[in-house]
């Protein structure tokens, strides 16, 4: 292949031009590779975060719709407004749980209870006879009926306590025994807080008795199967109301909580949280759920991927920026290179005329110019794979720092504005989750593990080759259309 040899001779003879093209091509390749690498690192990080965090969707009563309904009914009758919460049937909950993308799910039932044979942890201003002077509004179904009842304890009914929000957030942790498990449904077991246990010398295996806050006749004997420790300081209201004190929260199977609330609540739950296999599937899951028989005039599905969004927000911005870099540099680079190559090929019209006069095939002439620029492209890709990694690291992490700072500022503003109303029933629920997410800006992905991969280099090679071929081919075509006589005559 004589044209390959000619290409080599030409490059060797024109060292300055070759070097200039190599420098330009290398700079272009370094930027493109940085963009590609940052993009793939950002994608990998956000996928990892997405897989780790998942994201969840909560099925619960549509409170807004319920309030509107109450208000319209109230206008037809006298009396104060009453809010009736319609519990979710287990059938509905399970029909949605059977849909695709559900990694796991958990029930939540909140009830209030009084301690029968043990002492609760007193809040500083609460008293035993608080009911004489004040009425505590306890969590649970009775609240839904407008009742103001006295309560010592918050009873959280769950399918598995590990997936209850306090535990999954790391706020609560089992220190002895075990948590509530799915197999505990129907049995009377409980997990209590360490301080409460120590105060009453309670251990795993002991039993406690509690009574429903709304119906003293409804009592339960619960076997302690686990003791947990909470790091929650509780809300400000916990100073006034014992049941809001985090030490006075006990976890029981959802069936036990339902028993405390009354017979009407058998085989129901207040809310169901579905953990997704991937936060990306939330929309598809909600769309599928809306096609089930569940009455979405009464219930609603709330997506909770705020933590994921907060974590990956900056990184997605970086990925998007990196993508733009790739496009911009590729296009600009191709244009710049094409112009440089075009100029250099135009200068070589005479050479083309001579070679054509000797009888060289036109495609071989184009092949020579393409070979020259492709050789430069290959060296540039090689060099950029060496220099691309540190540059991409610096560039990528600097971009991410800027994005993380910007995101933190946005978060602060959001926090000042407030993320919205509190969660249902004792401060849990999605509202709280949003608040938690905003209170932990440090959880945003703050660094990228940027490594140039073979895949990046292959893509860069593809882009580089395409740029090289286009840059050489366009000017070649215009000149190859000329006849050797014309070229040589004009030259002379």
């Amino acid at each position: 292949m004589n044209f390959l040899k000619r290409a080599f001779w030409s490059m060797k003879a024109k060292k300055g031009k070759t070097l200039l093209q190599l420098v330009i091509f290398t700079v272009i390749c370094v930027f493109v590779l940085s963009g590609l690498t940052i993009q793939s690192a950002a994608k990998a990080s956000s996928e990892l975060a997405r897989q780790e965090l998942g994201g969840s969707v909560t099925l619960q009563v549509d409170r807004e719709a319920a309030m509107e309904k109450q208000q319209s009914e109230q206008s037809e009758s006298d009396g104060p407004p009453q809010f009736t919460s319609t519990p979710i049937s287990l059938d509905d909950a399970e029909s949605i749980a059977a849909l695709d993308h559900v990694k796991s799910y958990n029930y939540s039932v909140s009830a209030s209870a009084n301690a029968e044979d043990f002492d609760i942890i007193e809040s500083s201003t609460s008293t035993d006879d608080s009911s004489d002077t004040e009425t505590e509004q306890a969590p649970g179904g009775d609240q839904g009926r407008g009742g103001m009842v006295q309560a010592d304890l918050t009873v959280n009914g769950t399918l598995t306590s590990d997936e209850a929000e306090s535990f999954s957030d790391g706020e609560a942790e089992i220190v002895d025994g075990r948590g509530i498990e799915e197999s505990d449904a129907g049995s009377n077991v409980a997990v209590i807080e360490q301080t409460l246990a120590e105060e009453n010398d309670l251990e795993v295996g002991d039993t406690i008795n509690i009574s429903s806050a709304s119906d003293e006749d409804t009592t339960q004997e619960l076997e302690i199967v686990g003791i947990y420790e909470t790091s929650s300081a509780g809300s400000d209201q916990a100073m006034n109301f014992s049941f809001l004190n985090p030490y006075n929260t006990i976890y029981v199977p959802y069936t036990a909580a339902n028993t405390l609330k009354g017979e009407d609540y058998t085989d129901t739950v207040e809310s169901v949280t579905y953990q997704m296999d991937d936060a990306e599937n939330i929309d598809a899951f909600i769309a599928a759920a809306e096609k089930t028989d569940v009455d979405f005039d009464v219930y609603q599905l709330d997506a909770n991927d705020d933590l994921y969004q907060q974590m990956v927000g900056p990184i997605e911005n970086v990925a998007s920026f990196a993508k733009n870099i790739v496009y911009l540099v590729t296009i600009a680079g191709a244009i710049i290179l094409a112009l440089i190559v075009m100029l250099s090929i135009r200068e070589r019209k005479y050479e083309m005329g001579v070679l054509m006069a000797i009888g060289e095939k036109k495609w071989k002439l184009a092949g020579q110019f393409i070979t020259e620029i492709v050789v430069i492209a290959i060296v540039a890709v090689g060099l950029s794979s060496i220099f691309g990694n540190p540059i991409a690291n610096v560039l990528g992490n600097q971009l991410l720092d800027q994005q993380t700072t910007a995101s933190a500022e946005t978060t602060t503003t959001s926090m000042q504005q407030g993320p919205g109303g509190g969660g249902p029933m004792g401060g849990g629920g999605p509202g709280q989750a949003v608040s938690d997410a905003f209170s932990q800006p440090s959880e945003a992905i703050s660094s990228l593990n940027i490594n140039v991969t073979w895949e990046n280099i292959l893509i860069l090679g593809g882009i580089g080759l395409a740029v090289a071929i286009i840059a050489a081919l366009i000017p070649s075509i215009s000149i190859l259309r000329l006849q050797p006589k014309n070229i040589l005559t004009k030259q002379e």
Binding site: N2, S10, V354, A357, I358, P484
Partner: protein, 225 residues
């Protein structure tokens, strides 16, 4: 009688106006072992005639045959590739290559193969007075005469039977011109080639076997004894 190597058959050529042709109905035959010169005043069409003979341009009418085959049908590119070597006044060497590389490239393009190519090229260059050291220099570092010798050697090494040259001595001094003309004469007579050279120098024309004079579209052939 031997068949002509190149034959112009009723060839006509004009630039833009057919009614005002440069020449018309030209019938000329060229044979091997002959050194032809073409003379004429400026603008008489010498270079155009040579371009037609060298396959750099197409006749507007009529046909040109090489060894009995129409060069139009075989394709001008193929004709140049396989059968003709062209030498221009400006040498037509590739500037970034050495003398050796210029010749090696041309041989590769035309498919001329010899054993031990480097030795062959250096020997051929030595014959025209180009040393090995000069052969490995960039051609632009050589003098005009040396460059023209390289161009002639390139044509010789490609071993085509037809060599066309457009005023190859135009830029050279008398002494060098004579040497170049001697080279062409030797090529024609010793290597059995057909050499067609455009010149406006009557002294050079007188050294050729046949001179074709172009004047106002007419051709007059002068056989030198």
């Amino acid at each position: 009688m031997t068949a002509p190597l190149l034959a112009f058959k009723n060839v006509g050529y004009w630039y833009t106006d057919k009614q005002n042709p440069l020449f018309q109905s030209v019938n000329i035959e060229f044979y091997k072992n002959t050194f032809y010169t073409i003379t004429g005043t400026s603008g008489s069409g010498k270079t155009t005639f040579l371009s037609l003979a060298g396959g750099l341009d197409k006749a507007k009418e009529g046909d040109i045959e090489y060894d009995g085959k129409s060069i139009r049908k075989m394709g001008l590119g193929n004709f140049r590739h396989d059968y003709v070597s062209i030498i221009f006044q400006s040498y037509n060497l590739i500037p970034y290559m050495t003398a050796y590389q210029n010749i090696a490239s041309a041989m590769a393009i035309t498919g001329k193969k010899v054993e031990n190519q480097e030795d062959y090229i250096l020997k051929m260059l030595a014959k025209v007075g180009i040393s090995e050291e000069q052969a490995k220099q960039r051609v632009l570092t050589l003098s005009g005469g040396q460059q023209q010798r390289v161009a002639i050697t390139r044509a010789f090494c490609c071993d085509t039977d037809l060599i066309v040259a457009d005023e190859p001595t135009g830029n050279l001094d008398d002494k060098t011109s004579k040497e170049i003309v001697k080279l062409f004469t030797d090529l024609a007579h010793q290597e059995n080639k057909c050499v067609i050279m455009v010149t406006h120098d009557p002294q050079i024309a007188a050294q050729s076997d046949v001179t074709i004079q172009l004047s106002n579209g007419s051709f007059r052939m002068l056989q030198h004894v």
